[in-house]
């Protein structure tokens, strides 16, 4: 009997390993998620959708929200208003750190109830410094505390956004009115953008958000506050489902001290322009060259 050659052995070994690797690579197909429809799998990128495609996607997403959460919602594809560039300013002299903005964001943007998530994080820092590394966000005492000041941080909608340039699949981009958005159905959840953001403004949906049907905000938009799926990134969109219809963002309306100023930076008579022209504004981590559209200022 002829001895098995070395070549044959290696071939057999290679074939076995190859077959095993192929089976392993195909394994996710066996674990097809129950809530993933063929339509969703084959859905194209947001910018590649025609108007008719978009309408079909919106109706499907509304149906999915009804099936999964029992809530009747309206999801719109709200597009930018021509000749509008959004800007936001926050007066650090009057912010008291009450987290009402974060609470309003939580409710408005259909965040997961268990984690009490929000796009706004309020830092408590010692007076006389803007040392963010020493700031805390877990304070639970009455505010404002003596000797402390407060700095809410949310997405700065940078004009040179690091989160956009690191995305390997263009699932996040900057809109013509300056808002950085995410196509939650295109995002693969690699979290590169979360790592790239110097303001720590992006959030990851570790779990499927849990929200009681009666608490779901039914006024939704595809690019903003619709209930996000598990495993995708999300971020502040300056409440584009409100602001692109002329309304003020939810965090601004909730602020009891009037620390927040929002508007169209192209309108010379707008409040935001007055602040930018007359107050000493600054942006966070200017040295990084991100060119934020979120400005901070002091009264004096």
């Amino acid at each position: 009997m002829e001895d098995t050659s070395r070549r044959t052995t290696l071939k057999a070994l290679g074939a076995t390993l190859g077959a095993a690797a192929f089976a392993r690579a195909m394994a996710p197909l066996a674990a097809w998620p129950e809530d993933l429809s063929i339509d969703e799998l084959l859905q194209r990128h947001y910018k590649e959708l025609s108007r008719d495609d978009m309408v079909r996607v919106l109706r499907r997403l509304e149906q999915e929200t009804l099936d999964q959460y029992g809530a009747v919602v309206t999801i719109d594809d709200v597009r930018p208003i021509p000749e509008v560039q959004f800007g936001y300013a926050l007066n650090l002299s009057v912010c008291v750190g009450c987290r009402k903005c974060a609470e309003a964001c939580h409710v408005e943007n259909n965040h997961d109830r268990a984690t009490n998530q929000s796009y706004i994080r309020v830092l408590e820092i010692k007076n006389g410094s803007v040392d963010l590394a020493m700031g805390t966000v877990d304070y639970d005492h009455a505010v404002p505390k003596k000797g402390r000041s407060y700095m809410p941080v949310q997405c700065h909608q940078c004009d040179n956004a690091p989160c956009v340039s690191v995305c390997p699949i263009e699932a996040t981009w900057k809109e013509p009115d300056g808002i950085v958005v995410v196509d939650y159905n295109w995002c693969i959840g690699c979290r590169y953008c979360e790592a790239a953001c110097p303001y720590h403004a992006r959030r990851f949906n570790w779990h499927k958000p849990e929200i009681p049907a009666e608490e779901i905000n039914p006024d939704q938009a595809y690019l903003s506050n619709r209930v996000r799926p598990q495993g995708v990134m999300e971020k502040c969109t300056f409440c584009l489902h409100r602001t692109r219809k002329g309304r003020l963002p939810a965090c601004l309306e909730a602020c009891p001290t009037g620390a927040r100023v929002f508007g169209n930076m192209l309108d010379p008579n707008s409040e935001i322009r007055w602040v930018l022209e007359n107050k000493r504004t600054f942006v966070l981590k200017e040295d990084l060259g991100t060119r934020p559209r979120f400005f901070y200022f002091f009264d004096k």
Binding site: I81, A142, G246
Partner: protein, 195 residues
């Protein structure tokens, strides 16, 4: 020239919309600007009594309940001999001002400006502005004071907060409050809190 062609091709491949009509929404029609009005709270022209409603908030009584008309003697109801009792809930912590600095002595339903001109309670912001100029200027420019409604007055109206909604006129410094609950954020909190 090849470089130019390559650049043009690159630009053509930019991530534009397949359907360019989706890039923008419809332009906003040039409508007459809606109003930006100031909300006048019911607490103006009223004084808190020691009694509380079911939510624990003090029950207010309109000044006119006792001070029915012009003149210091125009009191029709209440304890005329003991005004401190009626005004006992007021803690005056406003830069050492006395009552009459703002309240009109000849008609307690009114206020008066620095030049003595009488104004209605609802116009109290004029009085505030006389001392707090920078704040009044910032307010007028929309950089001070809360608001709700529309940033775009072409599309809807805006309601501004009145000074006294945040600053109680007798003790204007807002009190400390308990903050809303924090987020349970696995990234920022120390491991001991989440594991």
């Amino acid at each position: 020239m090849p470089l130019f062609t390559a650049l043009t091709l690159l630009l053509a491949c930019d991530q534009g919309f397949v359907d360019p009509s989706r890039e923008y929404g419809p332009p906003v029609a040039d409508a007459p600007a809606k109003v930006s009005r100031v909300h006048v709270p019911t607490s103006l022209g009223a004084v808190d009594t020691p009694r509380r409603d079911i939510h624990g908030a003090p029950i207010g009584v309109s000044c006119a309940t006792c001070h029915a008309g012009p003149g210091e003697d125009a009191i029709v109801v209440g304890d005329e001999g003991n005004p401190e009792q009626m005004h006992g809930t007021i803690e005056l912590l406003h830069g050492g001002l006395a009552c009459d600095a703002c309240h009109e002595p000849t008609d307690r339903r009114l206020l008066h400006l620095a030049d003595g001109a009488k104004i209605e309670m609802a116009e109290a912001m004029k009085l505030c502005a006389q001392c707090h100029g920078p704040q009044a200027r910032d307010y007028q420019k929309g950089a001070h004071g809360g608001m709700t409604g529309y940033w775009d007055l072409r599309q809807g109206e805006r309601v501004r907060n009145h000074c006294v909604e945040c600053h109680a006129p007798h003790s204007p410094k807002p009190p400390q409050v308990q903050p809303a609950p924090r987020a349970v954020d696995r990234v920022v909190f120390p491991a001991s809190e989440t594991h």
